[in-house]
């Protein structure tokens, strides 16, 4: 993870008077998985379309590594770049078959002729589409088309993979498969750009997250580093024995009084309006605290010593997804009146 493969400098894009992207700057290193996160109309797909050269920027440039290992402005010269695979939309070729479409893409991207058939069979098998190899795409469900779109993006073994909402319409099994496959691609050294609304998807697989709102990057770093900016963190304490329903409320009151100094007083109104929540199905407490590292230990200390007679803590954790969720609401919320980029 040393060399830069994509460098975006002062990138802006206008659609008429609407500023879709505003002075975007990013550096992506080889082998990273970058997640683009933001509400609808934030500029995620515009960013991906610019990298895929589907649209041209208003100002700024995108530089991608070429075959000589140098960064090259893709809008000045698109020849000789390292291979890029793109999934922006599902394949729109109803009257052809997956085999023909994938063979066509492999051929135009100069994938070795002798390996094309095996590659198609391998990828179609991986995503349970092998029996549909010679069936017309118009007979496919949305999830199947999405899987085919994902395969089409990687069929020629690209170095950079751009995926816009790759798991839309997929069943849970397929989502897991795609997620695992993306991780395996990273192990092969591929660089992946991923946009999604699914926080879990981003949280699970991305090394870094770029939070976009109103065309501005409001945060770009690893989830761990960005979570340092969190005003609120969520501690999940799993307990050994479930608590009976009648005991839950008094117990939460007691916990509130003991933990009051450490709990976040100005919690994010959008998602967390209770500081301590008990989940009876998972037998766990979710405690939203003020995010300071040393506080976590003190909270645990109180729970272990003062609540000995009420419950026994089995394990505790801070979920990446949960952090990401809080980050998302905090940073996007703050950015409703646009602020400067945070790095």
């Amino acid at each position: 993870m040393s060399d830069i493969v994509i460098k975006i400098e002062n990138l802006s894009k206008r659609y008429g008077k609407f500023l879709a992207l505003n002075n975007l700057n990013l550096e992506v290193y080889n082998g990273e998985i970058i997640g683009l996160l933001g509400p609808n109309g934030a500029g995620k797909t515009t960013t991906l379309k610019l990298i895929a050269r589907l649209i041209k920027p208003y100002t700024g440039k995108i530089m991608i590594k070429n075959n000589q290992g140098k960064l090259q402005n893709i809008f000045e010269n698109s020849n000789n770049l390292i291979e890029i695979g793109v999934l922006i939309d599902i394949p729109q070729f109803p009257n052809t078959t997956p085999y023909r479409l994938l063979k066509y893409i492999s051929n135009i991207r100069n994938y070795p002729k002798g390996k094309i058939k095996n590659r198609i069979v391998y990828l179609l098998s991986q995503f349970d589409l092998i029996d549909w190899k010679h069936k017309k795409i118009k007979t496919f469900s949305k999830g199947m088309m999405q899987k085919l779109g994902f395969i089409a993006a990687i069929i020629h073994d690209p170095e950079i993979i751009i995926l816009d909402e790759p798991q839309t319409g997929m069943d849970p099994d397929a989502r897991v498969k795609v997620r695992e496959f993306i991780k395996s691609l990273q192990k092969e050294g591929k660089t992946i750009f991923l946009s999604s609304h699914m926080l879990y998807e981003i949280g699970e697989i991305c090394d870094k997250v770029a939070l976009i709102n109103h065309g501005l990057i409001v945060g770009f770093d690893s989830i761990e580093n960005l979570s340092q900016l969190l005003k609120t963190k969520e501690l999940i304490c799993e307990i050994l024995n479930p608590i009976t329903p009648e005991k839950v409320e008094p117990l939460i009151k007691k916990m509130n009084s003991y933990l009051k100094p450490y709990l976040e007083t100005d919690l994010d109104k959008m998602s967390y309006n209770e500081k301590i929540i008990y989940d009876p199905q998972k037998s766990q407490f979710r405690i939203s605290y003020n995010g300071l590292k040393e506080i976590k230990g003190e909270i645990l200390n109180i729970l272990v010593n003062e609540f000995k007679s009420d419950f026994t803590i089995n394990s505790y954790s801070e979920l990446r997804t949960s952090q990401l969720e809080q980050l998302y609401f905090q940073m996007i919320g703050e950015n409703e009146t646009p602020t400067k980029t945070k790095y």
Binding site: L54, I84, Q92, I162
Partner: protein, 279 residues
């Protein structure tokens, strides 16, 4: 020694040029194969339709009543080709209407354009659809020739080859015009309506006005240019009157210049607009 080095460098450069040429041709070639498979059914349908139309207009009437058979082979061809314009314009507009706009309206471009240069995709599609429409023209001419042989015996009218050549040129000019309209159209249907309306109705209204009111020979008109494809079949073409109070057909030179201008001009314009168009 220096000579040898220079020769080697020149050789390497030549080799690189050859490789680049091959790499540029390869995506076009694969696009042609992909598009032929995608559109072959349309070709079969139009070819079938062409044959059925010919049987209905130029076989059954004469088989049932041989007295109705035109006295000359030339007249036989003219009657066979008079309705072919409808098929030709309709087939061309169906094939070429989506050449550019379908990338945007059907979003096929989102899948392909990141993988292939717009120029390669456009040229590949243009060649494919031209081959398929020229294929339909070939079916028409072969069928006409077979029917001519059936009714009149050999030898065949040799002017059929010149007419066929002009029909191909006509297809290419039409293809470029439709591609140009497709380059700024939102979807395929408006292109089909505009092209059919312009050629089959528009020129029929404009041409008489231009000829009678302004005395202008309508060499711009696709309707007028098509007349040459029929008239050139006449063995006495070189001595035929072109003006009889009304312009009948263009000269060969006029037709070649007009059709080439349409073909090349609209092809370049379509390509420029396609390059500029974004998602």
């Amino acid at each position: 020694m220096k000579h040898q080095q220079r020769r080697n460098i020149r050789g390497e450069l030549e080799m690189k040029k050859l490789i680049n040429f091959y790499l540029n041709l390869k995506p076009i070639f694969h696009t042609i194969i992909f598009e032929v498979k995608l559109n072959i059914r349309k070709f079969y349908i139009f070819s079938g339709f062409t044959i059925i139309f010919l049987i209905l207009t130029n076989y059954l009437p004469y088989v049932t009543d041989m007295r109705r058979l035109p006295t000359t082979q030339y007249n036989f061809y003219v009657s066979a080709l008079s309705f072919f314009l409808l098929i030709l314009v309709f087939a061309s507009s169906l094939f070429f209407s989506g050449i550019i706009c379908s990338d945007y309206s059907k979003k096929t471009g989102l899948n392909l354009i990141p993988m292939i240069k717009k120029s390669h995709l456009f040229i590949g599609k243009y060649i494919t659809y031209s081959i398929l429409v020229i294929g339909i023209v070939s079916v028409q001419y072969i069928s006409m020739a077979l029917l001519e042989y059936y009714f009149y015996g050999g030898p065949l009218l040799n002017t059929i080859c010149i007419s066929y050549g002009f029909a191909i040129l006509y297809v290419l000019a039409l293809a470029s015009l439709i591609s140009f309209i497709s380059s700024f159209s939102s979807s395929e249907l408006p292109v089909i309506i505009v092209v059919n309306g312009l050629i089959l109705i528009g020129f029929n209204i404009i041409d008489p006005i231009m000829m009678l009111s302004f005395g202008v020979e309508p060499i711009y008109s696709f309707m007028y240019l098509y007349n040459l494809i029929q008239f050139i079949l006449n063995p006495d073409f070189s001595t035929m009157l072109r003006y009889d109070g009304w312009w009948l057909f263009p000269t060969i030179e006029q037709a070649v210049i007009s059709l080439l201008s349409y073909g090349i001009g609209f092809f370049i314009l379509a390509f420029i607009l396609y390059k500029k168009r974004q998602f």
